[in-house]
């Protein structure tokens, strides 16, 4: 079973999974159904957890297993379940109406991916050829793209819940950057970040619920009484 310790294989597997994460992100932009969007987000988080575990395995970075486990439990399982229940509770299942239509949105996401590569290229060091450097070089553009596309999702959508999904997928981009560039941040920081993500999602959920009750809609573009 020596191939299980071959760093080359690890790099290939990780790069493939990261590409899948990017595809899922663009699928979220294109997807018009709220519940499907939440599930795509869950799958994306699951793949990220797998990436973290793979990196931990091939680089003997044991504390990354903790990050992978937290990712799996919180973002791949708990948050999608909570968000779906919230959708059921408020009783809104209809589709999302993006500001920009779907084909153009996907095109813009493609452009943002390109931008991610351009930005990441500016600090590429071709003289470094260690596996860690290659890994960082492959992952950073994807992380930046996830971040930018997540931001675009927030701007592009009127439904509050999908804005939350946009924010959470931006954080997924950060997670990818952290695990691939530096094999994760120090464990205590990792725990703090997950705590914040969890509490933040709960806070946004409660707020969303109250907005849904008060306005009979999760359409946050109706929130525009405060001006000037």
């Amino acid at each position: 079973m020596s191939f299980l310790h071959d760093p080359q294989l690890g790099n290939t597997a990780i790069t493939l999974m990261a590409a899948l994460v990017l595809v899922l992100q663009i699928a979220m932009v294109a997807q018009r159904w709220l519940v499907t969007n939440i599930r795509v987000f869950g799958v994306q988080s699951f793949v990220l957890a797998a990436i973290a575990a793979t990196i931990a395995w091939f680089n003997h970075a044991n504390h990354l297993y903790v990050a992978a486990l937290l990712m799996l439990l919180l973002k791949a399982l708990l948050l999608p379940i909570v968000l779906e229940r919230l959708v059921a509770k408020v009783g809104i299942r209809h589709s999302i109406h993006p500001v920009i239509n779907v084909p153009l949105s996907v095109l813009i996401s493609g452009g943002l991916t390109l931008l991610g590569y351009v930005v990441a290229e500016s600090f590429y060091h071709p003289e470094e050829t260690s596996t860690a450097a290659t890994l960082g070089h492959n992952m950073l553009p994807i992380a930046i793209s996830l971040f930018l596309i997540g931001f675009f999702m927030i701007v592009n959508r009127r439904n509050g819940l999908t804005q939350v999904l946009g924010l959470l997928s931006m954080e997924n981009g950060l997670f990818l950057a952290a695990i691939s560039l530096t094999y994760g941040v120090p464990l205590v920081v990792e725990l703090g970040i997950f705590f914040d993500v969890l509490v933040g999602a709960m806070v946004l959920g409660i707020l969303m619920y109250r907005i849904g009750e008060t306005f009979d809609s999760m359409d946050v573009s109706r929130l525009r009484r405060l001006r000037g």
Binding site: L181, V188, G200, V203, L207, L223, G228
Partner: protein, 515 residues
Amino acid sequence: MILLWLLIVPLLAGPVAFAVRRRAAMEAVNLIAFLIGLCLAGALAFQVLASGPISLFDGFFYADALSSLIVLLTAFVALVCAVYAVGYFRFVEQNTVFPDQPQPDGPAAARKLRKYYSLMPLFVFSMILVALANNLGILWVASEITTLASVFLVTFYARETSLEAAWKYVMIGGVGLSMALFGTILTYYSAHRVLGIDSLAGLNWTMLLGNASVFDKATMRLAFILILLGYGTKAGMAPMHTWKPDAYSEAPVPAAAMLAAGVLNCALYGLVRFYILTSKCLGPEFASQLLIVFGLLSIGVAVPFILVQKSFRRLLAYSSIDHCGIMVLALGFGGPLGILGLFLHMTFHAVTKPLLFFCAGNIQQHLGTDLFRKAKGGLIHAMPWSGAAFLLGMLAVTGTPPFSLFLSEFTILRAAFSGGHYLPGVLFVAFLVVIFSGFILHIGNLVLGADTGLPAPAPCRWKKYSLLGLASLIILLGFWIPGPLFHLIQSAADVVVTGQSALGAPLVKSLVRLQ
């Protein structure tokens, strides 16, 4: 140990206030906790001044003069807000009709008071954690907790507009802080690829500072841009300031004052820590130019909104954007003078801003509106204390001599001209003059004028004492800065100036003679 107590006291006060339920007991818990907090912060400042930086748990917590200044200001603002809050919320309990409760003084009001008194200590705890964390990741986590702890303070009144304000606050704050986290990760990366430092201490500021000159420069550049946008959003720097007027005008007044005079400092503190690393790594020019542009933009954006403002609560929010811009600008001018100006300004602003919020709160509670249009003017006849204090605070906050903000703004201006930043210096003065005229027009119209026959409000000791205490402190600071306080501000500036230069000579003391 003092660092630990500073954190434990507010952290415990939250659950205790939640458990005691009775209003008087909750008020007492808050007041006592913040009083202890202020004493501890003072003790910490003296200890740091006497014997240098202290740290705890292998440098997990760390306090130098810069952190102790922020802790001291936060603890001070927390205490004055707690004193004012007693009067403010007693009025709310008796007079306010909430959407989910038909008449005043019912269970909904009690529930909301309980929420306020248990969330406020946690909010203060997170701000103190920002200042005491050595690890830049924990600094980020604590900044995020400040947002999460204060969201439900913004939704206190449960109006449709408060939900809107809270939504903007969390979403814009969340996006901003995720940029800050990206910046933190990239900083870690730029250190990591050179040093290979790992494990627990890898993100510690003290550790990073020692090696900042060999960081990867290209990565650090991107990291600083993200940090500036991230913590800038949290501080309410233009163009990411749009949450600020909404949150400040919807939150109950003590919470709004805490946001304006507490969170602002903490966010700028995060920015300053990274500024030190960046300018040590890249030289000061790169960061300076960005800071000057964003600082001027913030002041400039505030100008038209202050001139045409319809509501006095929102006017204060734009003033806060303006002051955020001034502090960012001061950091951009840099040099011993600019940094000293920054911390002087931060201190004086933290003393002055709560007074304005308290006056605005008194007037809003008495009139039931925060619109200039509905307040007919001549308030000084019905509310002599609040009216006079509002005028005084207005003059102080716009930097009129002899008040202390004039001193700090003048120091910043000197830094601009001595550093050769002529155009930004001139624009800075021009913006300030226009803002001054806008303020004097609005507040003058509101407070002065003929008596409209408005009845005087019911007297409230808590409100009056917090107003008088702050007002006399502002007048006092205009003429005399206590020696130890000035020493603390100077040492905080020294942390920045010596940190960013490789030489490490304390330049501030030799160059600046203010008194």
